[in-house]
């Protein structure tokens, strides 16, 4: 089967009108089996695909279609993949990084937004989208004065729909919680999974650190803040179950390091850990090559690797196979399994980004906190 772009290329006379017709009625990037065709139309000297797939050259050059202003790139992409990208358009002395003008699908993050490519058979999970049948929970903003961190911290607290003081709830604490709300649709996901009885109604506290590279990198004061200040105060203020097995801690990237570190320092606090794309950098030999921010991380992970211990009951680990951290995460799994903790590990063909973390929430949270799906029929 020839690709649409090949048919256009091989037509006897490639005119601007033929290009118009090629573009019309198609969605881009164009997915045809394992082949994905990216196109850019406009004046340029060269065009590149900038992506964040570890293992591929980060910059992939487009070809121009002679006699037209159309540029294209065909890539072979494994099924069920999702990755984020931008176009780099070079024109004269100017280099511009732009979103794909023909692709309305974008993913936001703290640095802006990227275009998104879904390869064949990849689907955005329907439970990540608002469902009019789901009763919405509420998010309250609280302030916590932390002696250990020496500042006042804003904490957003999700209370499930039909929250009642008479009931006792499990507690999940989420690092980078505001980002999870903004970029990973955390509230929609919680509303949907609780409505579908896949999660129990639960209270979710979302923290956000203004100095995450320091505080999340095995900072003992941050662990003290979580375990000696935040959780006890939340348990005073809200009707929480208040047992280790009913508490969970979640983090992605550096937030996963903070999660591991807090649980390691306070093994009696959290029964359930969710570690997404953990920045578990370590060295067997030689020096850390990931930069100075990783120094305390490497020291901590090296120490944990030397003498791993049981720091929770259940640990959910996930990582994208297009992330540079896939090696660290894969090698981390047998290590924590050796401690006797119940470990579940999930990989996806995705990168180090918020939608990857969003799309693994159902797998992880429903395993750590099973809902009453078998017992409740309303």
């Amino acid at each position: 089967m020839s690709l649409a772009i090949q048919e256009l290329e091989q037509s006897p006379l490639v005119t601007e009108q033929a290009v118009d017709e090629f573009l019309s009625g198609r969605t881009f990037p164009l997915v045809e089996g394992p082949s994905v065709t990216f196109v850019y139309r406009g004046a340029a000297d060269s065009v590149f695909l900038q992506h964040w797939i570890y293992g591929l050259e980060a910059s992939q050059p487009f070809q121009s279609l002679p006699g037209t202003d159309l540029w294209y790139l065909v890539m072979e992409v494994p099924p069920e993949s999702r990755f984020e990208y931008k176009f780099e358009v070079v024109h004269g002395p100017h280099r511009r990084l732009v979103q794909d003008p023909l692709n309305p699908d974008t993913a936001k993050d703290p640095f802006g937004a990227n275009s998104v490519c879904h390869s064949e058979r990849h689907e955005v999970p329907e439970w990540t989208r608002p469902d009019s049948e789901s009763r919405p929970g509420q998010v309250e903003e609280l302030s916590f004065r932390s002696q250990f961190l020496g500042s006042t911290r804003k904490v957003l607290v999700y209370l499930p729909a039909r929250f009642r003081q008479e009931k006792r709830y499990p507690l999940l604490v989420v690092h980078d919680g505001e980002d999870f709300l903004r970029f990973a649709d955390l509230q929609v996901v919680l509303d949907n999974l609780i409505h579908r009885l896949e999660l129990p109604p639960m209270v979710v506290a979302m923290t956000q650190s203004p100095r995450r590279l320091k505080e999340y990198a095995d900072d003992p004061d941050h662990a003290k803040f979580l375990c000696e200040e935040l959780v006890p105060q939340l348990e005073e203020r809200f009707p929480l179950i208040g047992r280790r097995g009913a508490r969970g801690l979640l983090g992605s990237s550096f937030g996963a390091v903070a999660t591991l570190s807090a649980a390691w320092r306070y093994p009696d606090m959290f029964g359930n850990l969710m570690l997404q794309s953990g920045s578990f950098a370590f060295t067997d030999i030689g020096k850390n090559r990931r930069g100075p921010h990783f120094e305390p991380v490497v020291s901590f992970v090296n120490e944990y690797r030397r003498s791993p211990n049981r720091i929770a009951d259940k640990v959910f680990v996930s990582c994208g196979t297009y992330e540079s951290l896939i090696y660290e995460n894969r090698s981390f799994v047998p290590l924590i399994q050796s401690t006797g903790m119940d470990v579940r590990y999930v990989e996806s063909r995705d990168g180090h980004n918020w939608e990857n973390w969003r799309d693994r929430l159902r797998d992880g949270l429903t395993w750590l906190f099973p809902g009453p799906i078998w017992m409740v029929y309303e």
């Binding site: 009642r164 009931k167 999974l193 799906i373 017992m375 029929y377 309303e378």
Partner: protein
């Protein structure tokens, strides 16, 4: 050989979920009930008393029997009873876990045989035998659960019944003069345990009963838990235990369209054959299954799972 199941004495109506398409009032009108009714919303647990929407829908007095909070009060007065019930609950949970383990292998084998294509003369007896093994497991499980209930009943002293008896007398007064008993859905175990604890059906005598979702399940002979697409696990339907037996021969399946893969003939067929001779009936929005004294009569939204894997309108 199987005998026909016994029939309910008073009118019973089993309904689908009421949140989006409430049909309780129309059902009561059909049953010629017009006046105060007793309602049980214990399956809603801590939200038990938030029944304003139900009262508004009915347009007349609905006396909430408060079984959830009544039980909490009994537990406070009688901690020994609470302890015994929790011990029983733990035992039942442990048993359910082991049953699930055995069941998963048996169901997987049956599904594989049903998926396999080829010589039916060879395959069908194997399928029949596989289903019989599952039925035997189900029977065994129900028997074990009954043993635990029996042990629990015997272990309770007469004094411990006192706190329950007191509430039962109060319940009888609350139900005096009502035209029907309504049983809402929710948590099926919470609901069933409280219906049993106070023997509410014993107080309802010949009252018409309208029950929906978990309420309908609690009235069945055997309570079947089900979900074909849970976020974890294989989604194997399992028998919880015997219900109150008021709708013999019927396995009520609330929210079937959402919970079951009704377009998968193998799953549908296995479900229907496993629980035969009982009929597996879907209870979705606007579903209604009524016992009219002679037969079960259903609304068009009420479907039945067939042995051939199809789902069709229910006809007795």
């Amino acid at each position: 050989m199987t005998s026909d199941p016994p029939s309910p004495k008073a009118p019973v109506a089993l309904l689908g979920p009421q949140r989006f398409s409430p049909t309780v009032r129309d059902t009561l009108q059909e049953l010629r009930v017009d006046g105060p009714v007793a309602c049980i919303t214990a399956g809603w647990e801590e939200r038990e008393l938030e029944d304003e929407e139900l009262s508004e829908h009915l347009g007349y007095e609905a006396r909430n029997l408060r079984l959830f909070w009544r039980t909490e009060e009994v537990f406070q007065r009688d901690p020994q009873l609470k302890e015994s019930l929790l011990a029983r609950h733990d035992k039942l949970r442990g048993l359910q876990k082991r049953h699930r383990l055995r069941l998963s292998h048996a169901l997987e084998a049956a599904r594989s045989l049903m998926r396999e294509e080829g010589n039916d003369d060879l395959l069908e007896p194997e399928r029949v035998s596989a289903i019989e093994q599952i039925q035997e497991l189900d029977r065994h499980h129900v028997g074990r659960v009954q043993e635990i209930h029996q042990q629990f009943s015997e272990s309770l002293s007469a004094g411990q019944h006192g706190s329950v008896q007191q509430e039962r007398e109060d319940l009888a007064r609350s139900m005096d003069g009502v035209g029907a008993l309504l049983i809402a859905g929710g948590h099926v175990v919470v609901l069933l345990n409280r219906l049993r604890l106070f023997d509410v059906l014993g107080l309802a005598s010949d009252l018409p009963i309208v029950a929906w979702s978990a309420g309908a399940m609690a009235l069945s002979e055997r309570i079947v838990l089900f979900h074909d697409r849970p976020p974890q696990g294989a989604g194997d339907p399992e028998i919880l235990e015997t219900g109150l037996g008021l709708c013999p021969g019927i396995v009520p399946l609330p929210h079937a369209q959402k919970r079951l893969q009704l377009d998968d003939p193998i799953r549908v067929s296995l479900f229907a054959r496993r629980f035969a001779p009982a009929q597996c009936i879907t209870l979705d929005n606007e579903s209604k299954l009524c016992w009219n004294g002679q037969d079960w009569v259903a609304s068009p939204q009420t479907k039945k799972l067939n042995h051939d894997g199809q789902v069709q309108e229910f006809a007795p």
